[in-house]
Subunit: 511 residues, 2 copies
Amino acid sequence: MHGRGKSLTDLIRQRRGDLGRLPDVVVRPGTEDEIAAILRAAFEADAVVIPFGGGSSISGSLEAEPGETRPVISIDLARLNRVLSVDATSQLARVQAGVFGPDLERQLNAQGWTCGHFPDSFTHSTLGGWIATRSSGMQSDRYGDVAELTRGMRVVTPSGLLTVRPVPSTSTGPSVREMVLGSEGRLGIITELTIHVRRVPAERNILAYLFPTWPAALAAMRDIAASEASPSVTRVSDAPETAFSFATRNSPTPLDRVKSAALQAFLRRKGWNLEAMCLSFIGYEGSAEHVAAQRKLAERIVKRHGGLGIGSSPGQLYDQKKFDTPYIRDFLLDRGAPADVSETSAPWSELQRVYDNVRAAGHGAFDRLGVPGYVMCHLSHSYHAGACLYFTFAINPPEDHDALEDYGVVKRAIQQAFVDSGATLSHHHAVGTEHAQWLEEDISIPGVAMLRALFEGTDPGANLNPGKIVAARPRHQTGETISEGESSSSNGRPGGPRSSLDAHESSQPPA
Amino acid sequence: MHGRGKSLTDLIRQRRGDLGRLPDVVVRPGTEDEIAAILRAAFEADAVVIPFGGGSSISGSLEAEPGETRPVISIDLARLNRVLSVDATSQLARVQAGVFGPDLERQLNAQGWTCGHFPDSFTHSTLGGWIATRSSGMQSDRYGDVAELTRGMRVVTPSGLLTVRPVPSTSTGPSVREMVLGSEGRLGIITELTIHVRRVPAERNILAYLFPTWPAALAAMRDIAASEASPSVTRVSDAPETAFSFATRNSPTPLDRVKSAALQAFLRRKGWNLEAMCLSFIGYEGSAEHVAAQRKLAERIVKRHGGLGIGSSPGQLYDQKKFDTPYIRDFLLDRGAPADVSETSAPWSELQRVYDNVRAAGHGAFDRLGVPGYVMCHLSHSYHAGACLYFTFAINPPEDHDALEDYGVVKRAIQQAFVDSGATLSHHHAVGTEHAQWLEEDISIPGVAMLRALFEGTDPGANLNPGKIVAARPRHQTGETISEGESSSSNGRPGGPRSSLDAHESSQPPA
C-alpha cells in the first residue's frame, strides 16, 4: 500500500511482484507534535522520510530510491482528517492535511461550504497531497487551482515549524507558500492548511455542446476565456475522445436510439462530418440570475463557432461518472493493454500545434513499436492566456512484447513532444521521478539549479523524499559546491557559473 | 540617482548630504547579451550587482550595504523598454523589463491593449521592478497582482539564462516563476517578461460612495468580494483619510459649496456622524452591459450597509489625481514633517482588529515621542479571503528632534503592529532592507531559512544585491553550514535542525 503510487509503471510492476524498495516502517501520526517527533527521530537515525496522503500519485512521488540503504519511513497522514474551523467572514477553513476529498467536502457541506476542488483522483487523494503536487480540479476554472485556493500552511521542516500566514496577498520576498506547493515532501511534512471555501451554490449546471471540429471547439473555449463569462467548467474532447465517450456510455434505450438517429441526421443535413465532431461540457454555478447570464454569454460564443447545445442529460451523466473513467485502466491492464494519461498546458495560440505534435509523437511511437494504439485528448482547464490539454493513450502490444517497455516508449514520446513544443512537462500531475528527466528542458538549467539550492540548502542530508523532482547528486558533491568555490576563487563562488554565463550567449528563447 | 530608492529614510538622508555607499559604476545595457557580459565581468571581479528600474523603491532595495568593500555596479535597465510582440490569441505580450509604466501602456494602447497595472509609483517605476517587488496596482482587483499577470520570464543568473515558459499553469515542482517574483535582484537580472494583456475596455467608471462608518464600509467591501460582482477597484478610506481627501481637493466653486452643504444637511438628517463618514470608490470596467450588471450587484450591497452613491465626479477626480498624492511627501518634508506609508493584508475577519492595533501603535508612538501625528488608512485591494490595508502616517516633530529617529519610532511601531496582529509585513512594497528585521516574525524562521537556502545556494559569493530580503550572514558561516554538518554527524546535516525541531513543540500557531 505505501510502497509507491498508482502510475501505470507502478501497476505493472506491482502485478509482476516487483515491489521496489518498500518502506521499513509506516507510521500514522495523529498530531503535528507526533510528526515533529517522527522527523526528529528520523533525522537522528539518518532515515529517509516519505509523506503519504492517498497514494494516488501517478508520477512516482512516493517510492524510495531503488538503492536506498538508509531506513525508509512512510508517514501516512490519514489520521489528520479534520476540518478544524471555518471562518465564515473570510471564507477560509483550517483543515488538516490528511483529509480525503469526499471527507473534506462532507465536513464542509455540513456547514454549507465547499472547497470546490475535484481532481480525477478526488476519492483517493488528500488535501495535503493536492498541495504537495500542485493539483487542479475539474471546476478549477471557478475555484482556482490548488495553488490559488491555499493560503495558510503549517509544515514541519528540519528547521522547525514553518507557518505561512493565511493572508490574501503579500510581497515578502519569493513566496514561501509557493515553494511548499509542488514540493512533494522535499521540504517537510505539511500538517495543516488554511484554504478558500465558498458557499454551496444555489444552482449548478453542466451543459453539453457539440462542435463540428476540434479547431472550432478550441476557438470557442479561447473566446469564452477572453469574454466576460466565467464558467465553472470548460471542457471539450477531441474527435477520438468524443467517439470514446459515445462508445462507453450506458446502453441506450430505444428512445435514446431514436433521438440519437434524429440528431445525427440533423447534423449531417447541416454538413457536419460526424467523425470530426467534438463533445464539450460547460459548467455554470451561482445564483439563478448569474447562471442565466453566464450561460447566455457563453452560448453566444458557442454559436459563433458553429457549436450546438444538446441539453443537460449528458452533463448530468458526466457529473455522476466523472471519477469513474480512470478505473478502466485496470480493466484494460487485465487484458494486457496499458493505458495512461499525460497533461500539459500552453498559450492559446500554441494549443493546436502542441496537440498536433503530441498526436504525431504518439502515433509515431505506435508505428515504431508496431503496436495498435489510441490517443485522445480533452481541453480540461481554461485560463486567461491558455489551457490544459489532457491526453489519454493506450496500446495493445502483442504477448511477446514487454508491455512496460512499449508503454515507456509511448509515454516518453508524448512527454518529449510537450517540452519540444514549448508546453509544460506537467499541468497538474507533478514531477516525481517519472517526469524528472525532462525538468531542465521545461524550466531551464538555472530553474533546476534554484530547486536544488532550495532542497539541498534546507535538507543537506537529503532525508526528505530524496530523488523526487530533481534527482539526487552523489552526496559528496553537495559539499563540493561550496568548498570548491572557496578554494578556486576569491569570492567563494563555484567555477560553474562562469561557464554557464558564457554558454548563455548561444541560448535561444523558448518557443 | 542610482545610489538608493525613495523611502522616507532615503529622502531625509539625501537632504542631509548622507549619500550612503554609492555605486562605483552605473551601466546601461541595451541587450540581454550585454547584461550577461556585465554579470560575467562582475563575478570575475567579485563585484556586487544591483539592478535598477525606476528607483522608486521605498523599502531600501537599491542601496549597497554600508560596509561593502567590493566594487558596486548598478545595472540601469531603462534601455530595455520595448513591447516586443503581442500574441492577440493568447492575450500575452512579450515586454522588456526596463519599460516604465506610462511607456508600457502607451505601446500597448496603440494596439488596443492594456496591462492594467497601476501602482502609485506607476509613472516612476518599471515592469521589471514591479515583478522584483511583487507589486500590486490600483486595479489589481480586476487585472490581478503582478504575480498573477506575469507568466513567462527571462532572467540572467549566475548559472545562465533562466527561462520560465509563458504557460498558464504548471505543476513542475515549487514554482520558479514565484521565486523570481519578489526576489529584488537576489537571483539575477530580469530582462524580459511575458505578461497578460487585455483589450482596453469599452467602458470604465469609477463611482464614489459614502459609508456612515468604517466597520460598515469594511463589511460592504467584504460582501462585494464574496458576491458575484467583480469590480475593478474597491477602495475605501477611513474617517481620517476621508477628511484628508476633502481637505486637499481643488478649491470648491460656489456651486460645489451649495451642493456640499445640501449633502451634509441630508446626511445629518439621516443621523450620520459626519466625523465618522468614509469615502469609497468602486470601479467597473467592461462592456456597457457588464458594467451595468456589476454596478447593480455592488450597489445592492453598498445600500445594505447604509452606503450612499455620490456620483461620478469624485471618481473622475480620483482617477486623474491618483498618482499625485505621494508628491505631498516632499512638500511636507520641506516643512520638517516626515510622512510615509505602510501596507499590509489580512483575512476579512481580522481587518478591524489589525486596523485598531495599527492606529493604537501609531498614536502610542506619537505620545511617547511627544509629537503631533496623523494616521489614516484605506482599504486598497480586495480578495476572496481578505484585503489590503494601506496606512499613511505623518508627524510634525519640533526642531530639536531628529526627524529620522522620530520617524523610525513610528514606522517600527506600525510594522510591529502588523506582524503582531497576524497580518503580513508588506502587501506590495517588498522587504528590501527596511522591512528585513520583521521577516522571521511574518514568514517564520523556517521560511527565512528557505529563502537563505535559495539565495546562498544560487549565489554563494553574495554578489547579487546582497543584504536585501534576508540579511547577509558573515561569509565564513555560509561555508560552515555544510562543513559543520559533515564533521559532526554521519548524515551530513548541520546541528541546527535538531534543536529547531526540539523547539517546535512549544511553538504556537499564528493568530
